[in-house]
């Protein structure tokens, strides 16, 4: 279980996986069930994601979007275990980069090992955190973390990230809008920013993501 306050507070996950936001509270009484990370790991991932997409004057970041919860769910699902990657031996780890990732480790293992190098990260001042990330920014682990942070920032909220559609509001993406037929050839040169709606809201029924598929 992860205390909500430790990842920015104020978000609540109900038993059926739905996400909502409570009025701000600073105590640690709201707990989020974790599927893969230990609480300590989740705190580090949350801190790293916040350096990749900081909460700053340009708008909310990974913390408000609940990126760590998104990543935790992805890692616990088929993607985290490489359920759809070709994993037959032999692994040619020395292959040139243009052959793509050739390691045997699935994302779960890459995260678990990568996080060991970042023990205590959440307690460092921001400048030291950035220096630490600069050291690893060309690693497979960092590439995954960066990619997953962007995913958790901008995915449909059904996947646990982009809480309250803060990511979509940040960039003016309206989510799955059923029709733009009346607008596509208007608004040329000016912003058209319909209020974001999630897939559940648009279709008025609940959806489950691939992370919830049986392994």
């Amino acid at each position: 279980m992860l205390s909500a306050a430790s990842v920015g507070g104020v978000i609540v996950y109900s038993l059926d996986g739905k996400v909502s936001r409570l009025a701000a509270r600073a105590d640690n009484t709201v707990k989020i069930p974790l599927r893969f990370f230990t609480e300590q790991e989740a705190v580090i991932v949350s801190a790293v994601a916040s350096r990749i997409m900081p909460s700053d004057e340009s708008g909310p970041g990974a913390r408000e979007a609940g990126v760590v919860i998104y990543i935790d769910r992805q890692l616990a699902g088929p993607w985290g275990l490489d359920a759809h990657r070709y994993t037959h031996e032999p692994f040619d780890v020395g292959a040139p980069a243009e052959f793509g990732y050739q390691g045997s480790a699935p994302p779960q293992q890459i995260y678990r090992e990568g996080l060991k190098q970042l023990a205590g990260f959440e307690q460092l001042p921001e400048s030291a955190q950035d220096a630490k990330l600069t050291q690893i920014e060309h690693s497979v682990f960092f590439d995954l973390l960066r990619g997953n942070t962007i995913e958790g920032m901008f995915c449909d909220p059904l996947h646990g990230g982009n809480i309250d559609m803060v990511g979509w509001q940040l960039i003016g993406f309206p989510g799955p809008r059923m029709s733009n037929a009346a607008e596509i050839d208007k608004y040329h040169g000016e912003e058209f920013r319909p209020k974001p709606q999630s897939l559940d809201q648009v279709t008025q029924e609940p959806h489950r993501g691939s992370e919830d598929e049986a392994l």
């Binding site: 970041g61 759809h84 070709y86 040139p96 052959f99 920014e137 608004y187 993501g209």
Partner: protein, 583 residues
Amino acid sequence: MKSLPGTDIAIVGGGWTGLLLAKEIAQRTALNIVVLERGGPRRAGDYTNGMDELDFNVRFSLMQDYSKETVTLRHTPRDHAIPIRQLGNFLPGSGTGGAGEHWGALYPRHVPDLFEIYTKTVERYGEKKLPEDHAIVDWGITWAEIEPYYTKTDKLIGTSGKAGNLRGKITEGGNPFEGPRSEEYPTPPMKVSYFSSLFRDAVKSLGYHPYPNPSAILSTAYTNPDGIARPGCFYCGFCDRFGCMVGAKTQPTNTLLPILTTQKSVVLRNNCSVRKIVHEGNQARGVNYVDESGEECFQPADVVLLCSWTLNNTRLLLLSGIGEPYEPSTGKGVVGRNLTHQISASGVTLFMDKPLNRFMGAAASGICISDFDGDNFDHSNLPFIRGGLLRAMGTGFQPIVSFGTVPPSVKGRWGSEWKKAAVHWYDRVGGIGFSGEHIPYKMNYMGLDPTYRDHLGDPLLRLTIDWRDNEKEMFKFASAKGAEIARAMGAKKILMQAPYDHYDARRYQSTHIQGGTIMGRSSDASVVNTWGQHWQLHNLFIVGASTMPCQGAANPTPTVLALAYRTADALIDHYLKSPGLVA
């Protein structure tokens, strides 16, 4: 091995070509047809809730499951091949409809001289102009022979666009470089996005010839000759890598399957992986496959139609021991030769002043120019042959895959400065794409891998492929043209895509792979005749881009479907009446 009751026709693959052939045969004959599809079942109604970028556009839930099967890759015959372990350079489909479910539905015809590329190129520039190591050959058919079949496919799907050459007369608003069309498009062009309209105005000011991209996404409601009615597009932007929520984008499940389900003579079996075409003498006897429960089955058939996409068509011939595998060192053998992909790139990225509202759109709506396609421009003083299409598409951009494009002046790819720039530019970024020809070479080919196997234990297909100077020079030329247009569009800043280096399994080009079972006029240099009929096994027909001796800049599906119709005519009107090689 369970031996099943025989059928008249066995079709391997339930995608565009397999289902189109099944429909034609069922409508025009009384024959029994079994379609074997390795993936699961799908219906048009499956997509009404599918507007989720993460699962479809990032995790690729409609694509082939690489944990079961992939291909291996090497750059030259001297290297050992390495498996492509995750989806990247192309996105094969699986399941009913195949890649025809998740395609972008761009629907351009090839330039007319592509079918006679060898003859026409040598005529104009001489043999010396052809790149070293090339394997360029004529297709054995001409524009005049394929055009009626292109038109037939247009009627099937209701293609949206504007003719530029109607029976030889150049018409305003269309592509003046296209081959003569016998008929106007069934439906008018799609609406275009703001960014595409800027491209149209800019290329016009530069003296080029913009036209609306031919689209298999309908601009208006259309009912086809089979009575299939589909609505016009709503420009939601969830097309490429998705199934269409309303059926405006034509897919096998919304255009062919509704007919097939009414035909008692057609049986579609899902989750059946064909491992071998069984043959004896000069006859195919049927196919062996593994069914959903894991049981090995033999399906006897009088005629076998191999319709399982380029890579599987080639691999199944090799696994079945049909035809001589191509050997590049001697030039002998035919199965596997002429592997081509496509040069497909977001050549130039533009950073614009005003917001673009680029969430609105459709994958096939946009503006193109063909001024630099094929041999539409003089290559006498250029270090390459052929060319491609420059386009500004209004694809409907989604945030996970689009976020983070920043001007070159922004350092880093994470943190506050990067985030601020990425947020600012998010809706001000557009691309001028380039889709260019990839000519065939003797050393780009397919074979079986000696090391890696699929989930059933069969060898994977091995691709030997790399980019050559012709592709690199063509891309350089196209990028410079793109930059010229970008400046005319008023871009504040421009980002040029890195030049082509080695063939890269991480870099998505397109899902357009050609060759391996190529067509031709002679059995020495091709696998099938121009009807798709196997030269040696006369009751085996091969359909799909595997029969294309080279790739055009245009997306291949219109040509694939036209050739499928042509095979249907050869099979039904000639072969079934008089079995033997169709003349």
